[in-house]
Amino acid sequence: MAEVEGADAPLCVLDGIVKRFGDLTANDHVSLTLRTGEIHALLGENGAGKSTLVKILDGLLAPDDGRILWQGRPVTLANPEEAASLGIGMVFQHFSLFDNLTVAENIAVAMPAGVRLRVLNKRIQELGDRYGLALDPKREVWTLSAGERQRIEIVRALLREPKLLILDEPTSVLTPQEADNLFTTLEELARQGCALLYISHKLEEVTRLCDRATILRGGRVVATCNPREETPQKLASLMVGSAIPPLRDRDHRPADVRLSLRGLSAPPAELHGIALRNVSLDIRGGEILGLAGVAGNGQSELFEILSGERAAPDRGMVLIDGEACGDAGIDARRRQGAAFLPEERNGHAAVGALSLPDNVVLSRHATSDIAPSGVIAFDKARALSDAIITKFDVRTPSPLADAGKLSGGNLQKFVVGREIIGNPRVLVIDNPTWGVDAGAAVLIRQALIDLAAAGTAVLMISQDLDEIFAIADRIAVIHHGTVTAPVDARSVAREDVGLMMTGGQGVSHAA
């Protein structure tokens, strides 16, 4: 490959980057060229190796092979500081912020030594005015919304005047309206000559925003193209590698109310938590109710009280099959025929250091013959575990492997299967396909549809509007601890739900 020096050289070239984690090759000879002023999309589904690649570009990970050329010169990036001093800025998917520090402190800590706080406050204001990124430097981060937090990340990166700004799934925690604002800011940045590397798996955003796209699949580059010239179907099949089967339709027959919330109000259990305010919902057997909302609006608090991990302030606030159970623990509710699956796979829904059968014991000891009198029958746990592996097509190195050895998608199939295989009459599931590859997502969504068709009441909490619209029968929105009245999924527009997620009143016709 010829090296071009000086002004004609592309801003940044990744050449044959390889990164292995044990047996897994996360990046397999990935090459990518970034030019000044372009918005370049890095497309790929979960697990394709996008995050690994940008961590290499940010100096967080060292590549096993390959080289990085910066303005034509080969460079090694030993740490994020070196990347930043070259002019590489990073906006993380999971914010790298310090909750108990102020906005100004959060920004100051990433600046080179010698920047004075007073000067910094002024520059934060200036940048905010110029790009529409208003921030109060004195606020503590935990008081801010996800959108505001992202602004801190962007301002922090911009203050170092980057030549290349990397954004990792920046819209995943934003409402559609907040995302629009972000796009305006990014287009303005590109106009001023900054190169942007935009990581996403959302085709709609990419076709709207980006000039060029590099598509990763299984750690390899499968195509580089202009996304505006391709059809979304073409891009999707490049990303996934094969056609994803569409979800099957079902006959929708809502029956009796199985799960009810009656005027549920609860103070936050944790520091910086969200209080739930007067939440009332009825979920019928045979339906999927999708609860949309930006993360951090009370979803995890609601899940805890629904599952019984935390008792409701009043017994009558939660009813399963008409029976008040607000004071019952999670095992008692499971015995009533309910099943629950929290958002976080590792450390909540499953324990990475325990084997798959042990992870079956985790949530099924009360609703199976695994531990009848407090002594665990491991052979029965094993049998149930094997049944889940077969029925839900879980790819595992061995039936007794530790849960942590499974990929995100396979572990999610396993834990979803663990809850579904017992035929619960009520299922509460939080972000069922978060961070999961497309094939697993379809399998999981189909399983939820089939479960509802068999008469189960399914409450699906999700930040992903695509998912909500794909499988929910009715939609409600959670915002700042309050929940709107559910509306029929077929009669509501996406934009209206998006507006409600920011607290606006988008829908007049409540069902």
């Binding site: 310090f98 909750d99 100051a108 944790e270």
Partner: protein
């Protein structure tokens, strides 16, 4: 009468000074996200090494420096195991306590039963003869001035300096700090060494000023009380100052009660500081209700992903 109260206040200061120094050191360690439970061990080694070297060289200053050095050396072992090998910090802290108490005994063995003249207080001509405040404020041991300077310095460092901000960020969330390019392990190493230096200094104070001799077990749980002070103070340096003096006061109260023979068994009065610590911890936790200002990463190991 003035003489009596003055002497009580003087003894409060002598009792509070080692607690304050050790607790300020641990405060910095914990603010960086590391829990070093080995304060008691580092203090003991500081005390025995300080006394041994001071006796051998016949120089108190050399002894103090040796105490500091010994505390740092021991903390370096802790740093190697917890930072280098990412070992459990609680267990490593206990190992440090056991090792420190053992080493202190080995080092001090030849010096049991000997004593030196305590490092004298500073006298500032004119000022220290002032009525009331003269001796209290201007006639103290150099360690007292050092401890006050240390409290102010630590507070200033954490609140006002760039390095202090980095340290707080690292303690709050080490993964984020690493992603921003902050040197997590290097900062923690320096914090641990500072904690070791402070514990060693506090130990040297015990054997060179407080009771100018070495005896095994002379630290008597002060290292643990210093750890409790950090929690009691909600990780705020000036509250550590306040806490150390409250605690010093409680210790002296107990000694005077013992002298006044209130009819209580002496063991009950000796147990008072420990029970008071537990009660103080309960009271401070009750007021906080659920919220904790402890650094977010406190006690968790960090392995930089590469």
């Amino acid at each position: 009468m003035i003489g009596f109260w003055e002497s009580i206040l003087l003894t409060v200061i002598t009792a509070a000074t080692p607690l304050l120094i050790a607790a300020l050191g641990e405060l910095i360690v914990e603010k960086s996200g590391v829990l070093n439970l080995g304060v008691e061990g580092m203090m003991a080694v500081g005390a025995s090494t300080g006394f041994a070297v001071a006796t051998l060289t016949d120089s108190s200053l050399t002894g103090v420096l040796a105490g500091i050095g010994a505390g740092m050396a021991l903390s370096l072992v802790f740093a190697l195991v917890t930072l280098g090998f990412a070992a459990n910090q609680v267990a490593a802290g206990l190992a440090l306590t056991i090792l420190g108490l053992g080493l202190a005994g080995l080092i001090g063995a030849k010096f049991v039963g000997t004593s030196r003249i305590a490092i004298p207080p500073i006298h500032i001509p004119g000022l220290s003869e002032l009525p009331l405040v003269g001796k209290l404020v201007f006639g103290q041991s150099p360690f007292f001035y050092l401890s006050v300077a240390l409290a102010v310095g630590v507070a200033w460092f954490l609140k006002k300096t760039r390095a202090g901000l980095s340290l707080r960020s690292i303690g709050e969330n080490h993964s984020s700090a690493h992603a921003l390019g902050l040197k997590v392990l290097r900062t923690r190493l320096l914090a641990i060494l500072f904690g070791g230096a402070c514990a060693g200094l506090a130990g040297a104070y015990l054997s060179l000023v407080y009771t100018p001799f070495w005896s095994p077990g002379m630290t008597a749980g002060r290292g643990w009380i210093a750890l409790a002070l950090v929690v009691f103070a909600s990780w705020l340096p000036l509250r550590v100052f306040l806490g150390a003096y409250l605690f010093g006061g409680a210790t002296i109260l107990q000694m005077h009660a013992q002298a006044a023979s209130l009819g209580l068994p002496s063991q009950a009065l000796s147990a008072f500081p420990y029970i008071a610590t537990i009660i103080a911890l309960v009271l401070i936790s009750m007021r906080r209700v659920g919220a904790t200002p402890a650094p977010g990463s406190l006690g968790t190991a960090f392995v930089p992903p590469r």
